[in-house]
């Protein structure tokens, strides 16, 4: 039996000089073939055509130039290399990037022929020096920042309206993120010049776009496909609501006490109760009409102011221990009763 061992170097052609073979035992008793070893190789019968396939495999080009990325100078101007947005080109980028998920232990795939690096939008055209040159170039078209707008209050005073919008980096067949069309307009309610009726109507029109704790009105628009369109729409909404709140409809005069959003002592039964009580305590009971109740001057009643404030507080601010206590004190003063003894 003979053991035929072949040694290969990966990128070299199979040359006859590399073939070595050993013979452990020969089939022939005599050794006339010894002579042949020195002359020529043993011609192996290649039924499966293995050798041809191996030969075909190693047709490698040897005339490839080395990568441009390997030859780039360290201090080159990157802005000249990558002037605009471009799909990732591995040979032009001198960075040893690796991108992609692999199971544990393996190294992520390199940058050559990496589809993932090519898919994603890269911002190699926006490196800081490039951005800086662009800004310098734009500066000639810009005016300087006004000096007096040096604090938040100054900015808020002169520019009360804030427009809020977002830009997104989107990775998908389209580079446009649908959320980037959303535009918000924010303004402080106190910056809008509204009178009492207009303010009430404005608040009712805009509904829950008003935040009571901060006093900000936030109008958001996302119904148009483009940001510019939404921006126009938002401005239109603010204008429309503002001017509409000054219009007084005919039926607004029919507002009843139940529709009131705050409690007004002077329009309510508590005032009548107070007046009736006062008259009764002086034994001057008389039936009065609505106007007379309204015209009655409650300042002549002792402690009426305190009482009025206490009742309004309970109704407007809600019931709590504090408001009830203030009401208690006010009523006791009004009715002439002793104040509650402090609990030990």
């Amino acid at each position: 039996m003979s053991v035929f061992i072949k040694h290969y170097k990966a990128s070299h052609l199979l040359s006859a000089s590399n073939v070595k073979f050993f013979r452990f035992s020969s089939t022939a008793a005599d050794l006339p073939l010894k002579k042949e070893d020195d002359d020529e190789e043993f011609r192996v019968l290649d039924i499966v055509k293995k050798r041809q396939r191996q030969q075909r495999r190693l047709n490698k080009r040897t005339d490839i130039q080395p990568d441009r990325s390997d030859r780039m100078a360290i201090d080159q101007k990157w802005g000249n290399v990558w002037p605009g947005p471009k799909t990732f080109h591995p040979s032009s980028v001198p960075l040893p990037l690796r991108q992609g998920y692999v199971p544990k232990g393996q190294a992520p795939p390199g940058k050559k022929a990496n589809a993932e690096l090519m898919k994603i939008p890269n911002f190699l055209h926006l490196t800081p020096p490039v951005v800086k040159t662009q800004c310098e170039a734009l500066k000639q078209f810009c005016t300087p920042w006004p000096e007096l707008l040096n604090s938040e209050e100054a900015i808020e005073k002169h520019y009360p309206v804030e427009i809020i919008s977002s830009n997104y980096c989107h990775a998908s067949p389209s580079i446009r993120n649908p959320l980037s069309r959303v535009v918000s307009l924010r303004v402080k309610l106190s910056d809008l010049k509204l009178d009492k009726h207009a303010r009430d109507k404005f608040l009712r029109i805009i509904g829950d776009r008003y935040d009571e704790t901060t006093g900000l009105v936030t109008i958001t628009a996302d119904r148009c496909p483009a940001k510019k369109q939404n921006y126009d729409y938002v401005n239109y909404l603010l204008t429309a609501c503002y001017f509409e709140s000054f219009n007084v409809e005919d039926w607004e005069g029919e507002k009843t006490e139940d529709d009131m959003e705050y409690y007004d002592f002077d329009r309510n039964t508590s005032r009548k109760n107070l007046i009736n009580w006062y008259l009764k305590s002086k034994n001057e009971v008389k039936s009065m009409s609505e106007e007379e109740y309204r015209d009655f001057d409650i300042s002549q009643i002792d402690h009426a102011e305190v009482y009025k404030n206490a009742v309004s507080k309970i109704m407007n601010d809600g019931e709590s221990d504090d408001t009830l206590r203030s009401y208690d004190e006010a009523v006791r003063k009004l009715l002439g009763l002793p104040q509650k003894a402090a609990s030990s």
Binding site: S270, W277, M315, E319, L324, L335, L337, K340, A341
Partner: protein
């Protein structure tokens, strides 16, 4: 830690802390007696509270403890002070007791009733409004009111209340000082003439149940006139007043339509009574969460329970909060229960019970039951 163990030490020795006071007259009660129990006379209890006035659980306790003992607490003393200091020539002042469930509003009212009885007031006491508007035995007797169009009467309840009124004010009614001002014609053959004693009206209402609600109406008017003319001073006590202002009742007409409280004649009578257009009177009311269904009883604060209408009806009123037991009151109550053999066990149980019941008087009583 030191103070806790000191208190613990103190409590061991003060197991027999004074929890009773011998002062059984509410007019004499003052700050010294806060937290102490005073006993009510059995006859007094029968006169005042035989048809209501004590909460049901308390009535059971009086049987077990063989006495009715009420704790003197700050809210009651507050109201008594105000009554003493107020000028009865001015319109009637309204006091509203409010607080969490089980803190003692009804018992405070019982204390005040005792005070009123002692000081010769004419007592108009409604033990529990929900009894009329929300208690529905198998068949609730209701009838359409004859005198008021579209309104509903509850004759049996009205008659029962008239009986209660009569028992409470027996002495005063018997003395025949209270006379009616005008004629009341019930039917072709029945009239109560002017100048007749109030007792006659009451008895008529009890005997002729059909006219009971109208009798109550008449009584209210008469009492207001009598108080105004200084013949007698009146003490009005209504427990569960907020039930009158809840949007619905549990009554329904023969057509299965739910009746609103405004459509019941009794509501009108008592709302008339609680107005402040009369002098020489005191009005004490309670706003109770238990008077209305649980879904709508989220808060115990007066304006929430009374709704705007009720608040405006009794505005200006004096709100009196009735709270949980203080340390001293809790100790006193625990000692009382031990004395009455209701609670037994080591002193550590007191701290446990105080935490478990959150010093709420009713919960404390409930927790002591199986111990």
């Amino acid at each position: 830690m030191l103070s806790r163990s000191w208190r613990h030490f103190y409590r061991r020795y003060s197991q027999s802390v004074t929890f009773r006071t011998t002062e059984n007259s509410p007019s004499q009660h003052n700050e010294n007696q806060t937290g102490l129990f005073y006993t009510m006379d059995k006859d007094l209890c029968k006169t005042l509270f035989s048809h209501g006035g004590f909460p049901r659980s308390f009535a059971k306790q009086t049987k077990t403890f063989t006495e009715a003992a009420v704790m003197v607490r700050r809210p009651a003393l507050d109201v008594i002070d105000c009554i003493k200091a107020s000028d009865l020539n001015k319109p009637a002042v309204r006091y509203l007791l409010y607080g969490e469930n089980g803190t003692g509003k009804s018992l405070t009212m019982a204390h005040l009733l005792h005070y009123a009885f002692e000081n010769g007031y004419l007592i108009i006491h409604v033990p529990w409004v929900s009894e009329w508007l929300r208690r529905l035995p198998r068949h609730k007797e209701m009838s359409n009111s004859a005198t008021h169009e579209g309104m509903v009467d509850v004759p049996l309840d009205a008659a029962a209340w008239l009986f209660h009124f009569k028992t409470q004010n027996q002495a005063m009614l018997k003395s025949e000082e209270l006379k009616i001002s005008k004629d009341y014609v019930w039917s072709k053959r029945e009239t109560t003439p002017a100048g007749a004693p109030l007792l006659a009206l009451v008895e008529h209402g009890i005997s002729r149940v059909k006219y009971a609600c109208d009798v109550i109406d008449a009584i209210v008017k008469e009492v207001k006139l009598l108080s105004d003319s200084k013949v007698c001073k009146t003490f009005v006590a209504i427990d569960g007043f907020n039930c009158f202002f809840y949007p619905k009742t549990r009554l329904y007409t023969s057509t299965k339509r739910t009746v609103k409280p405004e459509e019941v004649t009794l509501t009108h009578s008592f709302l008339e009574l609680t107005k402040n257009d009369w002098t020489n009177g005191v009005i004490v009311l309670t706003a109770d969460q238990l008077a209305i269904p649980e879904d709508h009883a989220e808060s115990f604060l007066p304006k929430y329970l009374l709704y705007k209408k009720g608040f405006e009806h009794i505005d200006p009123f004096v709100p009196i909060p009735v709270g949980r037991y203080t340390e001293k009151e809790f100790l006193s109550c625990a000692s009382y229960y031990r004395d009455r053999l209701w609670l037994r066990g080591p002193a550590e149980i007191d701290t446990e019970l105080k935490l478990a019941s959150a010093a709420n008087p009713y919960k404390f009583m409930e927790l002591c039951a199986p111990l």
